[in-house]
Symmetry: C2
Subunit: 186 residues, 2 copies
DNA sequence: AAATTCCTTTGACATAGGTCAAATAATGGG
DNA sequence: CCCATTATTTGACCTATGTCAAAGGAATTT
C-alpha cells in the first residue's frame, strides 16, 4: 500500500497537504532482522510500512521473546506508548524481512498534528482502529481455546501468519510453540 | 472529577471554548443497574463519568455475562467501536451504582471535532491513553497467573475493585468466580 | 421479619495446555 | 555442498485453573 494513497483513504487531504505531509517523512529500507528500537530506549520514530513487515516483542523474566504485535503492509509501526509519551519502551521493535518504511520523528509529527486539523483527525482514527484491533486480540486471548486463537491470527494477519517463525506466532497468541505445532498439524 | 477540569487537564482550552464544548453535553443522573446500551444496538451516546461507575459486558455462547471494561470517575464511557464506527455494539453498557454523566451524541461530538482542532487533539490523546490501558490488560491476561491478574486489577481500578460483585471482576480478569474467591481468601 | 433472590465460598474431580527432553527438519554462512 | 545453527515436531508427564454441585451469607422485596 502506497503511503500517499493510505493517507487519502483515511482523510480527504488536498494534493498540496499530502505533498507537504509526505515531505516530512523519510523513506528508508531496512534489512531483515534489523532492530529499530530496544527495550528501555525511548522510541524516537514512527514508521509506516509500505512493504515488508515487522513485530514488537519483549523479553520476559526468563529471557524468552514474547511477540506483542505484528505490523504488516499499510500500517503504522512503533512502540506506540513509548513514542507518544516519550517514555522508555517496553518492547523491542524489529523488521522480519527486508522492509520499506516511511519514518518521522515525534517533533515532526507533532508539528503536522498542530499544523493540520485533518492530520489530527487521522491520528485519532488510526488510534481508534488500533484500539479496536487490540480489543479483538484481547477477546481472543481471554476467551478462546488455543485452536480458536490461531484462527483469529489467520483472520487478523493472513499475510503474516505463514511467513514468520512459528515461535513468534505462538508467543503472540499466548501459547507455547509446541502447542501451536500440534494445532497446525491436527 | 469535574468535567470541565478534566477537559482542561488534557488540552489547554480557553474558557470560551470550554463553555461552548460543555454546552453540547447534557448532564444526567442514571440509577444503579440501569442499562445504557444493549448488545446489537448502535451506541448513540458517549458518556463522561463525573460520579459513580459503569461497566461494559457481553453475553457469551452460554449466556454468561463477561465484563469487558470498567469505567470509573473521570473517564469516557461508551461501547467505543459501536459509537465511533456506528456499528452494532458487541457489548452491553450498564451503570453499577447511581451515576452522574455528561452525554453527547455522535453527530454533536463530530461537530466539536470539526470545529475545534484542540478537541480533535483531545480525542486522539484519550484514544491513545485507552489503547495503552488495553495493552496493559492484554499483558496481564496473556502472561500472568490468576493471582497476578487480580493484582493488576487492584492497581488499575483501585476505586472499583472492592465495590462491585466478585463475579464481575472474575469475568473481567478471565477467570471463574470460584478461582477469584479462593485468591481473595488466600 | 420472613421469604426470595442473588452472591460467595468450599470441596471433589477433570482437562487444556504447560514443561522438559530429545529427535528431526530446515536454513544460512563459509 | 556441507556443517552449524536455528526452527519444528513428538512424547511423557504435570499443574493451574476450570467444571459441577451444594452449602452458607447478604441483600432486597413483600
Amino acid at each position: 500500500m502506497n503511503f500517499t494513497d493510505f493517507l487519502s483513504s483515511i482523510v480527504p487531504f488536498t494534493d498540496g497537504e499530502l505533498k507537504d505531509i509526505v515531505s516530512h517523512f523519510k523513506k528508508e529500507t531496512v534489512l531483515k532482522n534489523q532492530t529499530l528500537v530496544r527495550q528501555g530506549e525511548i522510541c524516537k520514530t514512527l514508521y509506516f510500512v509500505e512493504k515488508g513487515m515487522g513485530r514488537s516483542y519483549y523479553l520476559n523474566e526468563s529471557g524468552k521473546e514474547i511477540t506483542q504485535w505484528f505490523f504488516g503492509i499499510g500500517k503504522f509501526m512503533s512502540s506506540v506508548d513509548s513514542f507518544f509519551q516519550q517514555t522508555p519502551s517496553l518492547y523491542y521493535l524489529e523488521v522480519l524481512e527486508d522492509t520499506e518504511l516511511y519514518s518521522i520523528s515525534k517533533s515532526d509529527i507533532d508539528q503536522l498534528f498542530a499544523k493540520y486539523h485533518k492530520m489530527e483527525t487521522m491520528g485519532r482514527l488510526v488510534a481508534t482502529e488500533m484500539l479496536t484491533k487490540m480489543v479483538n486480540k484481547l477477546n481472543a486471548i481471554q476467551f478462546q481455546t488455543a485452536r480458536e486463537r490461531y484462527d483469529y491470527m489467520l483472520a487478523e494477519f493472513p499475510d503474516i501468519a505463514y511467513q514468520v517463525p512459528l515461535g513468534h506466532i505462538a508467543s503472540y497468541l499466548g501459547m507455547t510453540q509446541e502447542t501451536l505445532s500440534r494445532i497446525r498439524k491436527g
